[in-house]
Amino acid sequence: MLEVEHLRKIYDGHGRSVEALRDLTFRVGAGELVCLVGPSGCGKTTLLKCVSGLLAPTSGRVVLEGMPVSGAPANMAVVLQEYGRSLFPWMSVSANVELPLKQKKLPRARRREMVGRALDAVGLADAGAAYPWQLSGGMQQRVAIARAIAYEPHILLMDEPFAAVDAQTRAELEDLVRRIWAGFAMTILFVTHDIDEAVYLGQRVVILSSSPTVVQEDLAVDLPAERDQLTTRAQPRFTELRGHVYEQIQKAKAAAPPSSGVS
């Protein structure tokens, strides 16, 4: 579904050039839930911007369903970390979720139906008429997720979506992601700095090195498909995997050249 091939990004400006991404290659197959983790400053955001077409790479390419990505591709939806700022405050929740669908030129009745379904899936069936600033942080992020789901993308990108949310809400939202992934048979690329989250959610965890970034390891997570916060996290295999990822990241941090401050 998604292939990232030798992605490289160098920032030039003010007489100084920073190599954020050196050589990133990995794939996400259809229907997979892949997590990306890495030490802070490893260019996760840059990577996501390149994959989502918002930023042009210096070299290498991103291929989505066989077509190279240049500019925002039509079959992709992105959920950002700053949920508060990604929703349009002058529109109600339903209007927000509906907006990308209007772009797709779908008839009104169909749009309403899809909005209803998406809000239902995230547990906000009654919040349609509310405005984003009337909702709590967790609810706002759900709206952003609903908006992404309603769009029926072939691939969903999530950029540290739960980093700014409290721990309890984060647990609920993580389960929500897994439910959506299973229920809508979606392909998800999930970027996070939270190692536990990456192992809990993913079928695979792609571990990134420090800047200039390369893929450090592509780890398969062989935990059972049915996961829940209580039991899965208590399993010995979980602890093993988690420890392994943690080790890798520590190694990545230790190998980092002194000046790299890109995220």
Binding site: S52, G53, L54, A72, A74, M76, A77, V78, L80, E82, R85, S86, F88, P89, W90, M91, L99, P100, K102, Q103, Y131, W133, Q134, Y151
Partner: protein, 258 residues
Amino acid sequence: MSAVLRRLAATMALPALLVVAWWWTSDASTNFYLPPLRQILAAFADVWIGDRFATDVLPSLARLAAGYLIAAVVAISAGVVIGQSRVVRGIAEPGLEFLRAIPPPVLIPILILFAGIGDQMKIIVIAVGAVWPILLNTVEGVRAVDQVLIDTARSYRISGLSRLRHLTLPAAGPQIFAGLRQALSIAIILMVISEMFAAREGLGFAIIQFQRTFAIPEMWSGTILLGLLGFVLATLFRMVERRVLFWYFGQRAAARDH
């Protein structure tokens, strides 16, 4: 209930006091320039409630409306275009900064050259003066749209007219309204001044006539009318702003409560 009454009393107390004081101190006045309030109010009723309303006040308001609307349309359109491109902004900036530094009334003699002394000139004067705050605020508002919203719109491939309508204009809304508010005061000022110059009717013209013919109570009544006009328009504006920008005020209130 008494809390509401107390509130009302507190708000109305000072104005009421001032009016009473004015009435009282001026009642026995023999000062030519400061006639008794009673006379002024009588003149007010005489002068403005009657044909003068139609022959002077309405044309003035009509010109004000025309000039203001033209300014708003031109300024918002230009502002959106200029605001979206850093390079265009950079090039336009010196010219705009210079033009806006010129006090608008000073342009009246120049505009008289171009547009004569009729309605057209007055409307142009109002428009030219009112354009700047709206234009500059629109440029600023468009420039400062949250990058997160822009990226979100881009990733959902929302562009062109749709983007303008759903993202750019609403996002710049609060700033645009700040400009519209300032433009309103300037427009009123220019409406009056343009009529003090070379005119045959209008609010400004009437007031200057009264002053020249030493019809003092009438002149004062004109001043009061202008004050009322300013107040009423400002209140109307605030009401419209509250409705259009309900989301902005709601958002700020929500942030404050956290």
